[in-house]
Amino acid sequence: MNQEAIKTAIRELITDIAEDMDLDQAKITDDALFIDDMGLDSMALLEVLATMEKKFGISIPESEFPNITSITKCAVTVEKYLAEKGA
């Protein structure tokens, strides 16, 4: 799976969450920060983490949590653990 496909999946989830929280969807870009730029909360981030694990069949350790800050960073993290899984 390439990074663009991963990003698309994450973007779809973020859009759903943003719509549900009534956030400005124009602020959703690949490099915008989830909390500071988009206004997501910590529960939403936990859901992003959980959804990535489920969707991509990977296990992301808790220590990565601080790195889950944007769509791009998410995709990088997913790729890393997909590679580990494949190895």
């Binding site: 909360d41 910590s42 529960m43 936990l46 959980a50 808790e62 949590f65």
Partner: protein
């Protein structure tokens, strides 16, 4: 008209540091840790492997086999604790009008192990017909007070208030209300929750569980510990208690409820609901912040709760906040969910009786955001006149219960 005074005359306790009043109290004064690697629950797949299990509970000590077969672990806990409380109160129920005794219980999950059992049977056998026909009726949380009522033939006002982790305070508060309203003379009030796979999995998924032990108010606190237990109080009108020369632990002065109305799973960082509850508790009890000697904290050991609770106490107590002793017994027994505030109320009753405040164990490094006197690691003999017990919950429920040593 003079308000009726309501006192606590009996206690029942089921906790991970022991069942029974004396066992619990001695362990708590010693500062025993009840959070251990899980033995009865299979946590091999979970990120956290520890929790609080009640290991010395033997249902045979309290109930016949056929009685046990009719109810879940939560009801068994509640019944055992009720037996203890009635015995402790030296009450002979046969001398009382059973329609004038109330039952007011709280819980978070009710009987989750029954549902867990049923769903596992369905998946294992791939057919629902294998679920025993007697199982479904044991699931509703209403079965907990119902089992108590049936066992002791109590027909008075009867309620279950499942307001999650603050449920014990809600239940005790309502028992107090019913006595003051003249609906009942006495009540069995408290909370019960068995170890729940749903709660354990859920708190794990929220990254809210500690990997080892609970360290409330410590700078390096790492989360809460999912646990189980029950706490029951026998409460009655002061006059009646004195007339029968009952042992009196404490007087219930009043309580306050509120709600964060913020998020389902995290407290409002401004402490809105907790402030409402604490202010109302003091107001209803007609006591001033200056007269409070001790606070039994909700103190779960999560970063958010302990920081917010400190803020709440500072907001309401003002300059006195730093000098008030405020400990979390969840450092020892973990978070017993719907039983938590009932166990804490029972612990408060014991603290008032013995004039000893229980410690917050596992405390090493002060956190500037939790700058209260948490009675670190060692129990403290001190003058305890009027004290408070806080309890907060999922969905934003907040509560503060005010208790006093009995005066004159």
């Amino acid at each position: 008209m003079q308000r009726k005074r309501v006192v606590i005359t009996g206690l029942g306790l089921i906790t991970p540091i022991g069942c029974g009043i004396d066992t619990f109290w001695k362990a708590a004064v010693r500062g025993e840790n009840g959070i251990r690697p899980l033995r009865n629950f299979d946590a091999s797949e979970h990120r956290t492997k520890t929790g609080g299990e009640v290991l010395d509970f033997n249902a045979d000590d309290y109930l016949s086999k056929s009685e046990q077969a009719r109810m879940g672990r939560s009801s068994q806990f509640a019944l055992a604790a009720t037996k203890m409380a009635l015995e402790d109160a030296r009450i002979d129920l046969s001398q009382h009008d059973h329609s004038r005794i109330g039952i007011s219980m709280g819980t978070t999950m009710g009987e989750p192990q029954i549902l867990e059992q049923a769903i596992k049977i369905k998946y294992a056998a791939n057919e629902a017909e294998k679920i025993p026909s007697t199982l479904p009726r044991q699931y509703p949380c209403a079965s907990i007070p119902a089992n108590i009522a049936r066992y002791f033939s109590i027909s008075g006002p009867h309620i279950m208030i499942p307001t999650a982790c603050a449920a014990g305070n809600y239940a005790i508060g309502y028992a107090f209300d019913m006595i003051q309203l003249g609906k009942i003379d006495a009540a069995i009030a408290g909370g019960s929750d068995p170890f729940s796979g749903i709660a354990f999995t859920g708190f794990n998924r929220l990254l809210a569980t500690t990997p080892d032990v609970a360290r409330p108010f410590d700078k390096n606190r790492s989360g809460m510990a999912v646990s189980e237990g029950a706490g029951i109080l026998f409460v009655e009108e002061l006059d009646a208690a004195q007339k029968r020369n009952a042992p009196i632990y404490a007087e219930i002065r009043g309580y306050g409820l509120g709600c964060d109305a913020f998020k389902m799973t995290i407290p409002d960082p401004s402490g809105s609901g907790g402030i409402v509850a604490l202010k109302r508790g003091l107001e209803h009890a007609e006591v001033s912040p200056e007269s409070i000697d001790y606070i039994c904290a909700h103190g779960t050991g999560t970063v958010e709760n302990d920081k917010t609770e400190t803020l709440i106490v500072k907001e309401v107590m003002g300059g006195r906040a730093k000098s008030i002793s405020m400990s979390s017994i969840k450092s020892m027994i973990g978070h017993t969910m719907g039983a938590a505030s009932a166990v804490e109320a029972a612990a408060c009753a014991l603290m008032l009786k013995h004039q000893i405040a229980l410690p917050t164990i596992n405390y090493n490094e002060p956190d500037p955001e939790c700058d209260i006197d948490c009675i670190p690691n060692t129990a403290r003999p001190m003058k305890l006149g009027t004290i408070i017990s806080n309890a907060y919950a999922f969905a934003g429920n907040t509560s503060s219960l005010v208790l006093s040593a009995l005066k004159g």
